[in-house]
């Protein structure tokens, strides 16, 4: 079960990191700020996923990282929505 969870949550971490890298790469190529804000969103979602991984897989009983996870997710969404509202028109 631990291995299963390890793979699942590890997968979420890798996917969000991948999105982040692709968006940063595209931002470097096009200098479109929408991509920068989106990349920063995935930085925060990656942090969120890493914390979730630690919280649920590595130290399931020792720590409760929920406040930090929520803070990271909220920061990421604010980046994304700011970009969508101001840079996507």
């Amino acid at each position: 079960m631990v291995t299963f969870e390890f793979i699942l949550y590890g997968f979420a971490v890798l996917t969000s990191l991948g999105c982040m890298l692709l968006l940063f790469r595209a931002y470097a190529a096009t200098a479109m700020r929408l991509l920068l804000w989106s990349a920063l969103c995935f930085v925060c979602l990656s942090i969120n996923n890493v914390l979730l991984f630690v919280d649920l897989v590595v130290l399931p009983t020792e720590v409760d990282l929920r406040p930090y996870r929520l803070f990271a997710a909220l920061a990421g969404l604010l980046f994304l929505l700011y970009g969508f509202i101001w840079e996507a028109e």
Binding site: Y27, M32, A88
Partner: protein, 130 residues
């Protein structure tokens, strides 16, 4: 009018000043009577019934024209076509020509440019960039 007429410079003009087909029609309406001062509501009505423009859109387009150096806005809020330079006037002439001769291409360019930023988000996920 060839495809090459849609130069980078002309496309930038469209991207900043002509963000929809309605905006193009408004601008051309103004440019056809360069002497005249238009009341904004009357200007919008003059395009009806073929085109209806909401008040919010109208205000946005006029602000874009003003920021792009295409019109003068009087203290009474009336508006007159007044390109800031020969280049500005040339772009509007090209717009008029494209609207008359190649409207489909023009409309496609207008919407493609408007969605360029959004499209760039989706294209960011292509691993192999062309």
């Amino acid at each position: 009018m060839e495809d090459s007429a849609f130069s980078d410079e002309f496309c930038r003009f469209i991207q900043t000043c002509v963000t929809s087909v309605d905006a193009a029609e408004l601008l051309l309406k103004l440019a056809r009577q360069p002497e005249r001062w238009f009341e904004p509501p009357e200007l919008a009505r003059s395009l009806a019934p073929a085109t209806t423009i909401s008040e919010a859109d109208l205000a946005r387009y006029l602000a874009q024209f003003q920021a792009g150096g295409l019109v003068a806005i009087g203290p009474d809020k009336r508006i007159q076509y007044r390109p800031a330079s020969g280049t500005h006037a040339k772009h509007v002439e090209m717009l008029a020509q494209a609207y008359k001769e190649r409207p489909v291409t023009l409309f496609r360019v207008i919407y493609a440019l408007r969605d360029l930023k959004i499209q760039s988000f989706a294209d960011a996920f292509k691993l192999i960039r062309k």
